[in-house]
């Protein structure tokens, strides 16, 4: 049983890392633990629990900037922002239910460390596009500040981008500063029912190319749609292609009409009001429509949107591919039966041809240990990755092997 270390603040964190570096003790870095089971299995003697660093440190709504300690729960962040009618535009998901780690909300730090973004990523950008600054302790036990608190900042290398999505392998985040944006006054969703994935991608592409300003574009095949808690979706008894619009009330009304006209050639249409829309997108965001953990594995593929359905066709083992398409088709949550390599080889070879990458998001530890969880990198890229790891964490103290062997 690994010992748990739970620092109270940044100084404590630095002390732990100094000790770990000096004594060559590796650490599993954990927030609320919602994504603990993602990645190659990490074996360490000690666990560094960052939830002790919690609390808002700066919030200036008029400046669109918000800072909080890395261990602050996302729910608390969102509650603070809601008071001023603002939000994290990248719509971070809560994957704890999907991943079977309970109902705990993730931490802000964990969200940033995994670059977790929701459906609105396609319009507003990913987490990495909203991180303005970070404080962290590197694997050299040095406390550093990267970025700042302003949007326009090109001073030095953009290390915020390097640390965001690094899954705790380069540094331990202690404070996160994000850009926040106004929460839209209203939202609505137009759904097209009964489309195949190919038709859906064409419809979504048309919607995204129109001047309507779509902030969510997803396709839910019938087998997944059946699991929705939104009655309009289950009652359709077919696949559902969903397009979301957000903004000022009058604007949403007008754009809804335009979108309906735009989508008319694609099939039967329905509109979902604000509350229903929000519920549906919550399901898409948190991946709740996928089957529960069982004898299946789930891959998260990022590929060229127009090629999404092709990729799924070419990699799927078995007849009924359970695949949730988000980001207009460019993000695919793919369920595969688990025996063997869980489809890893097929996925890797198809993506090499098409372009894109896949991450194994949910699988038993045996599978996670046997296949490449993160997309394998060709040589110049792989050695660059290793050199950057060495620059930050030369003794592989932090989450060793979480992403790749030796990283």
């Amino acid at each position: 049983m690994a010992t748990m270390l739970k620092p109270r603040d940044e100084a404590d964190t630095a002390r732990v890392l100094s000790w770990a570096v000096a004594e060559r003790k590796s650490l599993e870095v954990v927030g609320a633990g919602s994504k603990r089971a993602v990645g190659r299995p990490v074996q360490t003697e000690h666990v560094l629990n960052m939830t002790g660093l919690a609390g808002v440190s700066l919030y200036e709504p008029g400046e669109l900037v918000f800072s909080a300690a890395a261990g602050t729960l996302l729910n608390d962040v969102e509650a603070a922002l809601e008071e001023h009618a603002q939000q994290l535009a990248f719509e971070p998901p809560n994957l704890s239910r999907f991943l079977g780690t309970g109902h705990k909300p993730p931490t802000l730090g964990g969200t940033v460390a995994a670059n977790m973004s929701g459906p609105r990523r396609i319009a507003a950008g990913a987490a990495r596009d909203h991180v303005l600054g970070l404080r962290a302790v590197t694997g050299r036990a040095e406390t550093v500040r990267v970025g700042g608190r302003v949007m326009k900042n090109v001073t030095g290398y953009d290390l915020c981008k390097l640390l965001t999505g690094s899954w705790g392998t380069l540094a331990v985040l202690t404070e996160v500063t994000v850009k926040v944006l106004p929460r839209p006054e209203a939202e609505a969703t137009v759904i097209v029912t009964g489309q195949s994935a190919d038709e859906a991608v064409r419809a979504m592409s048309a919607a995204l190319a129109s001047s309507v300003s779509v902030s969510g574009a997803a396709h839910i095949p019938a087998v997944l749609a059946a699991r929705s808690a939104v009655s309009a979706v289950t009652m359709a008894a077919s696949s559902v292609t969903a397009l979301r619009i957000e903004g000022f009330r009058a604007s949403v009304r007008a754009r809804r009409e335009t979108l309906l006209a735009e989508l008319k050639p694609f099939g039967p249409l329905e509109t979902l009001d604000g509350r229903t829309s929000a519920r549906l997108w919550g399901e898409i965001r948190d991946v709740s429509l996928l089957p529960a953990d069982g004898d299946n594995v789930v891959w998260r593929l990022s590929t060229i949107a127009s090629k999404g359905p092709d990729v799924v066709r070419n990699v799927s083992i078995g007849e009924d591919a359970e695949a949730l398409y988000d980001w207009g088709g460019g993000l695919v949550w793919l369920v595969q039966p688990s025996p063997g390599d869980g489809g890893a080889e097929a996925i890797r070879s198809v993506l090499e041809r098409t372009g894109g990458h896949a991450t194994l998001m949910r699988a038993p530890p045996s599978t996670r240990g046997a296949v490449s969880v993160f997309e394998p990198q060709p040589e110049p890229l792989a050695s660059l990755t290793r050199r950057l790891k060495a620059a930050y964490d030369p003794h592989a103290i932090l989450n060793p092997g979480r992403m790749y062997a030796g990283v």
Partner: protein, 496 residues
């Protein structure tokens, strides 16, 4: 005086061989080695600094770039990448012993993919040319630095360029999907592509804004957006910059994120108006240009709200554009404001810093004081929406000490920016211009860590040396682990 790295005399002594070797890898119109011809490459947009390079190459293919870099790497020859040479921070300033690799012959658009809303272009294509190429289907490429008519997309990637519309649409880094990159040792790799997000470390995000220090980009994939249904711009004149700044804060506080929100002070307004004749009011202290875009019904409603807010903050002048032509004209003055200042002063020095917007009035007051102290005029252009400030210091390069005074004035402004919670550079990059101010913003540990990142890409510091960082540590030295001073290793697990 600006200290550049010591010249490698051994390399210079072999100039003849080097030129011959490069001639063997490149077509004849890709090699420039006569002194008179090299002279036009000795400076970029920061024209106060000039340095003759050793030789200039203008390759046409990725293979040629890789061959040149591999050769330079093998022979420890320094390389300075160059786009259109419009950098305002000296990013393309040559070194006497360096090969300047100009990417302007990479000037074709390779693919337009409307289904996936992206464009693949060579790095020498200008920013505006990308928007022009997709204009017939009402698409455009959103980041619009004011030099967009001339600056290249490759240069934009190097500097993480912004522009007037980045408040709503993001900077270059938020709009680039992928690149093909050549490392200093000649290896070619691809980062990103038409898909979203990185597979592991966000090396693409790291590369954007790295100012030519990590590699040379040979292809860029960018996101294109559908032009909003309508866009209208509004001019708002105020009797004081404080009033204008407060108005900006109020607009944002009401949940309105304009497509662009710019501010100019009196001298800037006059210079821009002389060039463009857009009808800027000449009797106000501060002018805001606010642009709202989106569906027609939304634009008109928001514009009325903005007008209301402006009136509540004492706007003395207001005018909304009534046509696309008028909207373009209103922006043309702002976009040409820097060089238009060339009409009222022989030379100008453009400073680029970012501050929290609420600090604007304070910073403007302080700058007015500095202007008096140094005896140099000042015109201000400000990305009001995101706090990025462009003071234009007016001077005369033909007068002995004015350049130096202008630089000290600029340095004082930047230190002030950092002091009030901002940063040294918002979009023009560090280059040589702000290099020596980096310690104002970063601790030694932080600067070392940034250099370690550089070492992962270019261990011999051959790419664009003398830029971005004031002192160079050798990579081996940085790689060695050292325990913090004063910290004693302790075997006991820390308890809290």
């Amino acid at each position: 005086m600006l200290k550049m790295p010591d010249i490698d005399k051994k390399v210079l002594s072999r100039r003849g061989d080097i030129v011959a070797a490069l001639a063997g890898m490149l077509p004849s119109d890709s090699l420039i080695w006569h002194e008179t011809e090299m002279r036009v490459f000795q400076s970029d947009g920061l024209s106060a600094y000039r340095q003759m390079p050793m030789v200039v190459v203008l390759p046409k293919t990725t293979e040629q770039v890789a061959n040149v870099l591999r050769y330079c790497h093998q022979n420890s020859i320094r390389v300075v990448p160059r786009g259109a040479g419009t950098s305002l921070s000296g990013g393309a300033l040559p070194l006497a012993d360096a090969v300047v690799v100009g990417m302007t012959k990479f000037n074709r658009i390779l693919e337009i993919d409307y289904d996936n809303r992206c464009v693949v272009a060579q790095p020498g294509v200008t920013n505006l040319a990308i928007s022009d190429a997709v204009g017939e289907r009402s698409f455009y490429y959103a980041p619009d630095p004011s030099s967009q008519i001339a600056c290249t997309i490759g240069g934009n990637v190097a500097e993480n360029s912004g522009g007037v519309h980045c408040l709503k649409y993001g900077l270059t880094t938020n709009n680039v999907l992928g690149v093909e990159l050549v490392l200093i040792n000649g290896e070619v790799l691809r980062l990103g592509g038409k898909h979203l997000d990185a597979e592991a470390y966000d090396l693409l995000g790291l590369l954007v804004g790295s100012e030519g220090l990590l590699g040379i980009v040979t292809e860029v994939t960018v996101r294109i957006l559908r032009r909003p249904e309508t866009a209208r711009a509004m001019l708002l004149g105020f009797a004081s910059s404080r009033a204008a700044g407060d108005c900006v804060g109020a607009i944002i506080a009401q949940g309105i994120i304009p497509a662009g929100m710019e501010m100019m002070d009196r001298p800037a307004i006059h210079a821009a108006e002389a060039f463009v004749r857009a009808g800027y009011p000449l009797d106000v202290e501060a002018l805001l240009i606010v642009e709202i875009d989106g569906p027609g019904v939304e634009v008109d409603a928001l514009l009325s709200r903005v007008l209301e807010i402006a009136e509540n903050h004492g706007a003395v002048h207001s005018r909304a554009s009534a046509s696309e032509e008028e909207r373009a004209l209103l922006w043309a003055g702002r976009k040409a404001a820097f060089p238009a200042v060339g009409r009222i002063s022989p030379d100008y020095y453009c400073v680029d810093g970012t501050i929290p917007r609420a600090q604007l009035s304070h910073v403007l007051e302080q700058m007015a004081g500095l202007s008096k102290k140094y005896g140099l005029g000042l015109a201000n252009v400000f990305h009001a929406g995101d706090g990025n400030l462009h003071p234009l210091i007016l001077y005369d390069a033909n007068k002995a000490d004015e350049l130096e005074k202008a630089e000290r004035f600029g340095a004082d402004i930047l230190k002030l920016c950092v002091k009030v919670g901002g940063v040294l550079t918002g979009e023009h990059g560090v280059g040589v211009e702000k290099r020596d101010l980096m310690p104002v913003m970063f601790s030694e540990a932080e600067l070392n860590q940034q250099q370690r990142v550089k070492c992962a890409f270019d261990a011999r510091s051959l790419l664009n040396p003398g830029k971005m960082f004031p002192t160079l540590h050798r990579c081996a030295e940085l790689g060695r682990m050292h325990i913090h001073r004063g910290q004693v290793p302790f075997p006991d697990i820390p308890r809290f």
